[in-house]
Symmetry: C2
Subunit: 115 residues, 2 copies
DNA sequence: TCATCTTATAAGTATATTCTTATATATGCA
DNA sequence: TGCATATATAAGAATATACTTATAAGATGA
């Protein structure tokens, strides 16, 4: 009953390389828990807005992340339609929750929410 | 009853970065199935012996791989004592077996075995 | 429409990565 | 001891990566 798509080593390596960066890996873990907008990431990481934007573009180009505009903000989230979504989530699920980072943002009044 | 050591995002990123190379990822998958000597890797990959040696050194420096000399050969294998061994095997287990590569070597008479 | 806010892109730079070739080191054996 | 085999290290080159600053582009709201 195993229907999970088998990933080839080369594709796996390219995904692992993408995740093999502290900033991107943290981003992906956060996105696995909540969608998140660019300015929140900028507030979370001590890094310029273009740097954040470039990391997000790499993730989006690979397809493991998708974007959706909501008014003036663009929210990013994990893309469950990605052919190797389960490979990504298997890895991500091993990591400790980054929820506390969003809570810190909230305390600082920097959390954007459209709910 | 969960005693598995929690991995921090930064450490995870450094491991993923190591695995995020097609050659190293294939090597690690092979080593998860069998220990393997340097000359076998040289035969398996279309790459110079120093290039193979340098990849193995990165893996050894990180501790996820260990070496053991057997006569004139040095065999490399996954290191089950590594603090994040289970993180590594979780990822590796998602990949298709590379057993066939060793079988190809065998056919060519290039397989080294000390058993 | 204009000003503002949010995000993306461009160009440049410093550093990291992954090879290559040349050479050194370690082991086994005649 | 000396040669052959196996592996590691050194040095250098080409390319990739991850930032920076400056600027452009899209959306909102007065």
């Amino acid at each position: 009953m195993e229907t999970k798509q088998d990933i080839d080593v080369e594709t796996a390596a390219s995904i692992l390389k993408l995740l093999g960066d502290k900033t991107r890996l943290t981003m992906v873990k956060i996105m696995a828990e909540h969608e998140c907008c660019v300015c929140e990431f900028v507030a979370l990481f001590e890094m310029s807005q273009p740097a954040i934007s470039q990391h997000l573009r790499k993730l989006k180009d690979s397809g493991i992340v998708k974007e959706s505009r909501k008014g003036q903000w663009i929210f990013y989230s994990l893309n469950p339609m990605h052919p190797y979504y389960s490979f990504v989530t298997t890895i991500i699920s091993e990591l400790p929750s980054q929820q506390y980072k969003l809570e810190e943002l909230e305390v600082q009044g920097k959390r954007i929410s459209c709910d």
